[in-house]
Symmetry: C2
Subunit: 315 residues, 2 copies
């Protein structure tokens, strides 16, 4: 039988991957669902693949990149908020101690997100993120944050799309934050990005309609929220799902429970030298229950250290 | 200059339309945004067109078709709800007086929607709608409801898609209700349907993950909700918007306020003989402020009676 004309020979696809278990499992799945007349065939419109973002498509250490944006915004907006210099967690940020601010935990971070991600129109917010993402650098690697993406995962996105998959991001990160750069960085357009959101309202300002961001958390696209976000935005069950933490477990379970074939994949951070090594006890991207379930169910677990020839794009 | 290879000659596109103002305006817009190098060119990824559903793509008289589904569900579920026979608006429905039930207004309808659209998984709900839509008939025409779509609008969807537009439904109707049939009826896949929703929760039932519908209204995709639904689901501003009532006005305003070219269209129900004639004083699909604004702004207003050769598909 002939291979589909779109399919590049296996030796050329996913070139940053060693010829190991995960690459073989991913390609076998794609071959199965693409084989017309085959028992696992899935029609192109139902080839939905979902990807977590932080820790799955790009790095998330030492802190989520959106937290870095938030801290930068606190510094930038401080002149308009004189009270911040006496009020935690803002006070620590403005005193130059980001770690002390972040050590105050998730409620403190959410406080800063609400204060810095609202009070402007959606267009003003996008413009702010756009300006930031083109210059923001990683604190230890010195690379631009948008270059801290995983080259092997870009290759997975590519081989899926070459086989008529529609690729989505389903992340706990802010939907409007990610949409600014996902097309450039991952080739994923805004309408295929699902994430957490704050509430917005529509209003007319001097005859011009605007959508204004409110200081109120709307939807949290994490854990149980991920299948719900998928249901709301896509209305179909994915057949492939990629994550890296317990926050992705429900998304993988939802994907695995579909009637047809499915592919569930965890990116396991095992490379302390080229990236970071963390799982069960990590303060960020904790992978514990998910790792157990992956082993029990026979899901694909990518060993970054052993299976990835390169981590980040070379250029 | 040559026409783009995809473009069918104008005499063959939109064949159910008379060669009048609206057809010319729609085709001129498509030509402008598709002309590479032209001053109004829009790249394919940004060619987003949004369509209201009830009264824009299919009929909405004498009552919204989803209200018919709701009443049928009340009858079907009645044996499990003995209290309904003494409780309005259910009582009137079960006594065979649908009009009396509907005359109790929107709160009564919402009460019935909450009671009949919840308490089951998303898959059970879809199965119920799927079964219903294939047999439900219109009370006066006797046609299947899914044949009460506007043939001229199907042709607009087609010419837009042939010119690399992505077509979306943005409706006050239920998102999960519509998604069951929009692909078959309009060629619009579930992920391009935006609508009102009730709240859902994710849970594990005997190890199987399910999404369960709750008796609580979530998002209302009408009026100010339409630009918000568009922002949430698409994350881009449409360049073309089609509606038929004041409930679409904010969506059209949002579309018109984009930086580039835009097309705003109202379907005006002017044909009492072949369909229904209604606008400013209608109890359903009221078009009043919208009609004034369309005239003031020079938006396209389709005169159904004068401009449409046929209303419904022939077969
Ligand atoms: Ca993650
Ligand atoms: Ca309507």
């Amino acid at each position: 039988k002939e291979s589909a004309p779109k399919t590049t020979p296996v030796t050329q696809v996913m070139p940053s991957w060693n010829a190991a278990k995960s690459k073989a499992e991913i390609l076998k799945f794609i071959e199965n669902v693409s084989e017309e007349g085959g028992e696992h065939y899935v029609k192109p419109g139902d080839r939905i693949a979902v990807f977590d973002n932080d820790g799955t498509l790009w790095a998330e250490q030492p802190v989520y990149f959106q937290a870095m944006y938030t801290l930068d915004r606190v510094r930038k907006m401080a002149p308009q908020h004189p009270d911040w210099k006496d009020k935690e967690p803002f006070k620590s940020v403005l005193a130059g101690d980001d770690n002390k601010a972040l050590a105050q935990g998730e409620p403190a971070l959410i406080e800063m997100v609400k204060a810095t991600h609202s009070g402007m129109t959606t267009e003003e917010f996008s413009a702010s993120v756009r300006q930031w993402i083109h210059t923001a650098k990683h604190p230890t690697s010195g690379k631009l944050l948008k270059q801290m993406v995983y080259q092997p995962m870009l290759e997975v996105l590519e081989v899926l799309r070459n086989n008529d998959f529609k690729t989505y991001i389903v992340s706990g990160g802010g939907i409007d934050f990610m949409r600014v750069f996902t097309e450039e960085v991952y080739g994923i357009p805004p309408e295929q990005v699902i994430g957490s959101s704050i509430e917005v309202k529509f209003e007319m300002r001097a005859g011009v309609p605007v959508i204004v961001r409110e200081p109120k958390i709307g939807f949290i696209d994490d854990k149980e929220g991920k299948p719900i976000g998928i249901h709301t935005h896509i209305g179909k069950r994915p057949i492939a799902a990629f994550g890296n933490s317990d926050g992705d477990l429900q998304m993988l379970q939802w994907t695995a429970a579909g009637k047809g074939p499915s592919l569930c994949v965890y990116v396991h951070h095992t490379d302390a030298e080229r990236e970071w090594a963390y799982d069960r006890d990590s303060h960020i991207g904790k992978l514990d229950k998910g790792l157990d379930e992956a082993k029990a169910k026979g899901w694909t677990v990518i060993d970054m250290k052993a299976e990835w020839k390169t981590i980040f794009p070379e250029k």
